[in-house]
């Protein structure tokens, strides 16, 4: 029978806390940057310009259809050799996660925009609003409401995705845990703790998503 020793985890609490802070900070940055990228790429998908449509399509599918772990390794190890630009681990991680998340956000944003009845834009145009104002004042405010639950779901996935940056030695929660596990030979306690921390941080968020979904269902 295995003897659990969670007291070891407690003695490394500052390292876990530090790792959690980095994971949360990393998630906040890549969610924010990813939303900006996703908004641009999502709107580009609906552009009149074929060049904008094609380039955004290429970007979205390239990142959507490649495993994140492969992308992280590729940007960190292969990109410098191809281009001569060497990025540090954190920059590579933020860039890759941003573009990866952005490709999923872009699809959610595009779908949200096209889900708004065409009559809404027509009514805006008929008032004499230029297409940009129609998008900003009529379509987006309605579309964003519908996008919020899937965007939040995607962000929860993104939070968990950040654990992959540990392969680049970015000191996130998982990486710090790996250090502790190596030092103490208490891998079972450490990984149990890591799983619990991820769970505890995300639980309140899922409650918020559920509420948002219910609220949306009612307002429709």
């Amino acid at each position: 029978m295995y003897q659990w020793h969670f007291d070891i985890v407690w003695s490394y609490r500052w390292l876990f806390l530090n790792g959690t802070a980095i994971t949360v900070g990393l998630t906040i940055s890549v969610v924010f940057l990813g939303l900006l990228v996703g908004l641009v790429a999502g709107i580009a998908q609906l552009s009149h310009s074929a060049a904008a449509r094609w380039s955004s399509w290429l970007y979205i599918e390239m990142f959507r259809l490649t495993p994140l772990l492969v992308l992280l390794l590729w940007v960190y190890y292969a990109l410098p050799i191809m281009t001569g630009i060497k990025l540090d681990a954190l920059t590579s991680a933020v860039m890759t996660l941003t573009l990866y998340g952005g490709s999923f956000y872009a699809e959610i944003i595009r779908a949200g925009i096209v889900s708004i009845d065409r009559g809404q834009s027509e009514a805006g145009l008929a008032l004499g609003m230029p297409p940009g104002s129609v998008m900003r004042r009529i379509v987006l405010p309605q579309a964003i409401k519908r996008m919020i639950p899937p965007l939040m779901n995607q962000s929860i996935i993104q939070f968990k995705n950040t654990s992959l940056v540990s392969v680049l030695a970015v000191p996130d929660l998982l990486y710090q845990g790996q250090l502790v596990a190596m030092e103490t030979y208490r891998a079972l306690e450490v990984y149990t703790m890591i799983a619990i921390i991820y769970f505890i941080v995300l639980l309140p968020l899922t409650v918020v998503v559920k509420r948002a979904e219910n609220h949306l269902a009612q307002s429709n």
């Binding site: 009845d117 009559g119 809404q120 027509e122 009514a123 805006g124 145009l125 008929a126 008032l127 004499g128 609003m129 230029p130 297409p131 104002s133 004042r137 009529i138 405010p141 309605q142 409401k145």
Partner: protein, 253 residues
């Protein structure tokens, strides 16, 4: 008198489907023209061409002092030019298309505030006056979802009027309404006619067309088949197609 609206040689096809063949039409200032005809005859497309929601393939359109030519050799109007032109042609849609994320008052204020950059306070009093005009003073602060179809359509008329358009275009404004709600919308349109608003009305309300319209145009297969004073076209149609179409309505008087 110069006509308010002048359309000549207007053609439009969607791919292989020709919707408007050769439309020529003029509307005098203050005149009310009713467009009638079977579905698929091109009435709505014609109306949507007049405010450029649909770009014609060829022909000329003039509304007031703005005129546009379409077809080989002429450049279609730029985006900002289209927007400016549409701001002076009011359009009322079959399905209202009210903005659900805004209150009734905000719906009516939206055009003046965002297009004309009218100060908020002035837009509020304009919107309130227009909502009073369509009989909805008590609904100013509610959201459109809580309104009946007839009330929604009256808000949408107020929303168009807020831009002080030179002409009003009604695209089957009562077709989506329960029969008992049609009257309140027609009442508002009747009031606008009495005030001298130039209007083109696509409608299936034949008796309303006879009562309010100065002229009736009967369309079929993308052509204006017959036109004339409302009483003549509806009461004593000359073309066979018009007679057949109108015979479906006789039971409704």
């Amino acid at each position: 008198m110069t006509p308010k609206i002048e359309i000549s040689g207007l053609r439009k096809s969607f791919g292989a489907l020709t919707v408007l063949r050769d439309i020529n039409l003029h509307v005098e200032p203050g005149q009310v023209v009713a467009l009638i005809g079977p579905s698929g005859s091109g009435k709505s497309t014609l109306l949507r061409c007049i405010n450029l929601l649909v770009m014609p393939n060829s022909g000329h359109i003039r509304v007031g002092s703005d005129s546009f030519s379409f077809g080989p050799g002429s450049k279609p109007p730029a985006v900002m030019q289209q927007a400016r032109f549409r701001s002076s042609t009011g359009m009322v849609f079959q399905h209202f298309n009210l903005f659900p994320h805004m209150t009734v008052l905000q719906n009516v204020m939206e055009g003046p505030v965002s297009v004309k950059k009218m100060p908020k306070a002035q837009a509020v009093s304009l919107a309130q006056a227009l909502l009073a005009k369509v009989g909805l003073s008590d609904k100013v602060n509610v959201f459109p979802t809580t309104l009946s179809g007839g009330q929604k359509q009256r808000v949408s008329i107020a929303r168009s009027l807020a831009m002080e358009p030179e002409v009003m275009l009604f695209d089957e404004a009562t077709s989506a309404l329960d029969p008992e709600l049609v009257g309140e919308v027609l009442g508002v349109i009747r009031k606008l006619a009495a005030e001298g608003m130039t209007m083109i009305i696509v409608t299936h309300e034949i008796s309303f067309a006879r009562e309010v319209a100065d002229r009736v145009l009967f369309m079929r297969d993308g052509l204006i088949v017959e036109q004339g004073p409302a009483r003549e076209v509806i009461g004593n149609p000359k073309e066979e197609a018009t007679k057949v179409f109108l015979s479906h309505f006789h039971t409704r008087g």
